[in-house]
């Protein structure tokens, strides 16, 4: 496992995209913190980046990498190696390199400028989101043979999680405006890791956003330690479930 992981990481690092991603994040974070008048506001702007760019880069890069590594995978599969080991090494290698990029690009600036609980939560959700979208990309790439279709699907998935899902939520909200659906909303947020991370960070940061009765309901859930732990576990489930499904599929895949 370690050996393959090592070679996957070496291979990814040889690919300059991760380096570019790191520098991009770093420049962006630093300029945000220097431009915004308060670092708390900087965190808010950074949140948007973490919620949009991190999932996008994670899912796209991972999917493309998997498709481009078809040869590498083929080579490895013909060797005396467990398929599970190979696949988990791919997963691990992608996650480790993208997380490292995120930690350098966003984590370090946040710790320098705003090492508050909010900042920590932001970093944690960024790391989790990276891993989640690597897992989703892996599942998509192993399920779809054709590269073009696979990458298209992955873009749609990203669009779904960052935009369409919230559109659906808004639609549901208006359809059921006359019912007390606040509690149900908490359940629905679990279905979207991006939304869940967003709420986790916001509740730590911008309590004023959560207003009125609804705000109280959300705060009572997400604001407590138990709610926080449940949310984090849900995010972990978002890693484990697609990851595990992709392993199952890879075990049965013909190369």
């Amino acid at each position: 496992m370690k050996k393959i992981l090592k070679y996957v990481i070496i291979d990814i690092l040889r690919n300059k995209i991760v380096l570019a991603y790191t520098i991009f994040l770093l420049v962006l974070s630093l300029s945000i913190f220097n431009l915004e008048d308060s670092s708390a506001k900087g965190i808010l702007s950074l949140l948007n980046i973490v919620l949009i760019i991190v999932p996008m880069v994670s899912i796209l890069f991972s999917a493309i990498y998997i498709y481009n590594s078809a040869e590498f995978l083929e080579l490895l599969v013909s060797q005396p190696l467990k398929r599970k080991t190979i696949w988990l090494s791919m997963f691990g290698g992608l996650s480790v390199s993208l997380i490292t990029a995120f930690l350098i690009g966003v984590g370090i600036p946040v710790l320098l400028y705003e090492a508050s609980p909010t900042g920590i939560i932001l970093i944690v959700s960024g790391v989790l989101l990276t891993t989640i979208f690597v897992a989703i990309a892996l599942l998509a790439a192993v399920s779809i043979r054709d590269k073009a279709r696979g990458i298209g699907t992955v873009i749609l998935l990203w669009l779904y999680f960052s935009l369409l899902f919230d559109g659906i939520v808004l639609f549901i909200l208006f359809q059921f405006a006359d019912y007390p659906i606040e509690k149900a909303m908490i359940g629905i947020t679990a279905l979207n890791p991006i939304g869940l991370s967003r709420i986790l960070v916001l509740l730590k940061m911008d309590v004023s956003a959560m207003m009125g009765y609804t705000g109280a309901v959300f705060r009572d859930f997400f604001g407590t330690t138990a709610g926080m732990i449940i949310s984090l576990l849900t995010l972990l489930l978002w890693i484990v479930l697609p990851g595990w499904m992709s392993v199952k599929k890879f075990n049965k895949k013909d190369l």
């Binding site: 040869e71 005396p80 013909d254």
Partner: protein, 236 residues
């Protein structure tokens, strides 16, 4: 050594392998022959566990390969088209393979690397290599770990005559050491002095599995290519 038992594999509607049962033993050099799309490569990949059979099973040294992966350490595989990570150099690739296969347990056989003079190209990236050089790399890797079984998919395709001759000599030498060699090739003439048995596949079906002497007797042809041509004509 390798026994395939009623294996079936479908790709969509296409039957790539249709109830194929074969038994391959040590010390043999077996030619896998058949028209294009007859299932030769699929069969090889099935043995390697790269393609999973829909039904039937394959055993390697009496162990089902389905839940085993370690058996692959006893196989050297040379793919039809050697595809390797683009960003790696030959040296890195060979180092990685050595690392993965843990050569502490076997004696490395770098004869081919030396004869193909690959060590001079160690710094070249895989994507810059010509098809022939890639084949040389594939061949070197297949023999590198001194495996008990060699599976060579179109080994001489793309090789220059000198390299092809080196490879053929190597195959003969390894066979002499009592190894099982499985070869597919379109160029039947070059198999003449190599093979001891012939497996003939068509449309995923096993047509026959015969010793070369039997085949010659049956068809009355001395040359393998002629013998196969006779079989193919008969089959029409």
């Amino acid at each position: 050594m390798i026994i395939a038992n009623n294996i079936n594999k479908k790709f969509g509607r296409l039957k790539a392998l249709d109830n194929v049962s074969v038994s391959c033993n040590k010390g043999e050099c077996i030619a896998l022959i058949g028209p294009n799309g007859s299932g030769k490569t699929t069969f090889i990949k099935a043995i390697l566990g790269m393609v999973l059979c829909d039904s039937g099973f394959i055993t390697f040294n009496d162990k089902n390969i389905l839940h085993d992966w370690a058996y692959r350490s006893k196989i050297g595989y040379m793919p039809q088209i050697g595809r390797y990570p683009d960003n790696m150099s030959i040296g890195q690739l060979i180092a990685m393979m050595k690392d993965i296969r843990n050569p502490a347990t076997v004696k490395l056989d770098d004869e081919l690397i030396n004869k193909f003079e690959l060590d001079k190209l160690y710094d070249k990236r895989m994507r810059t290599l010509s098809g022939g050089t890639r084949q040389k790399v594939s061949a070197s890797l297949a023999f590198l770990f001194n495996p008990e079984v060699l599976i060579l998919d179109e080994p001489t395709a793309g090789l220059d005559p000198v390299a092809a001759e080196i490879l053929k000599e190597k195959i003969v030498a390894e066979k002499a050491k009592g190894k099982l060699v499985l070869i597919t090739s379109h160029i039947l003439s070059e198999l003449d002095d190599l093979v001891s048995q012939v497996i003939y596949l068509q449309d995923g079906k096993l047509i026959f599995h015969k010793k070369i002497e039997e085949l010659r007797a049956d068809t009355g042809q001395e040359k393998l290519s002629k013998a196969i041509a006779t079989v193919m004509l008969k089959g029409r």
